[in-house]
Symmetry: C2
Subunit: 157 residues, 2 copies
């Protein structure tokens, strides 16, 4: 598992290569943005961040690249119920700490939390192993999300 920026690039490089993908400027730009931003970016968010530095990278490429990255397991595609997909670097991509989400169903605010991670990891490991074997499923990722009303929204009613 890579550590620094250089090694990380090498890693992506390798992942791309061995799957027959070409490493282009646009893709590197997108990976760069993702690794520098805190999660939950929509395709358009990524576009807005990439555009100033690389004005010739179109939104279509953002979508295509995010799909590729998602298929490779490098980014995780999320849905918070606001009609657009969100993307963040998947765990295992160094400096990404294991976390999950608390989503307000009213204002769509999202809180990352890292509590109970140890117990959670224990259960997840067991579950992944058990389910993987039972259903012959090759598990690559998981999502845990809690839904409810946030501080402000629960007060309003």
């Amino acid at each position: 598992m890579p550590g620094g920026n250089c090694q990380r690039q090498e890693w992506w490089h390798g992942k791309f290569r061995c799957c027959g993908y070409r490493l282009t400027l646009g893709r590197e730009a997108i990976l760069d943005i993702l690794s520098k931003s805190e999660g939950h970016l929509s395709a358009e968010d990524v576009y807005m961040k990439v555009h100033p530095k690389y004005p010739n990278v179109g939104l279509t490429t953002i979508y295509r690249t995010l799909n590729v990255l998602s298929n490779l397991g490098i980014v995780c595609k999320l849905d918070f119920g606001d009609g657009r997909s969100r993307y963040e670097l998947a765990e295992g991509t160094e400096d990404t700490h294991h976390h999950h989400h608390l989503v307000c169903t009213n204002c769509n605010k999202v809180i990352d939390y890292t509590d109970f991670i140890d117990e959670e990891l224990e259960l997840l490991r067991k579950t992944e192993k058990g389910l993987g074997a039972k259903y012959n499923f090759k598990i690559t990722n998981h999502i845990i999300q809690f839904y409810g009303l946030c501080d402000k929204c629960s007060g309003k009613e």
Copy 2:
């Protein structure tokens, strides 16, 4: 918590009433279909099932009703990454057993599983309580999903 069909209807009736919603034929039809079907229905799935018996219930009403039911916590809105939302009766709506999903990112096949539920429930109870207090979040629902490649799709590579 209601048991039979009659009591269940009473329960919905009450939930609707106390929130100022009117109980219409269309809404009852939709609830009826949801309670008779195994989960993971898209809005259009519901429409197709409701239509033969109630041809004058439009797709718009299906969407509107599913939203209302989702807000009331009667149904749970899910996303399996295939571009359309899925709905199923939320837990706590009797005969709905606590379960989660195993989603194939290649063919979108979904497997329900109920393994490790006891340990999971323990963790969830703790997490909900802890997070609820810490962030002053009123948690009403949660989702746990594992992603990966199913039996068939992992063999293909």
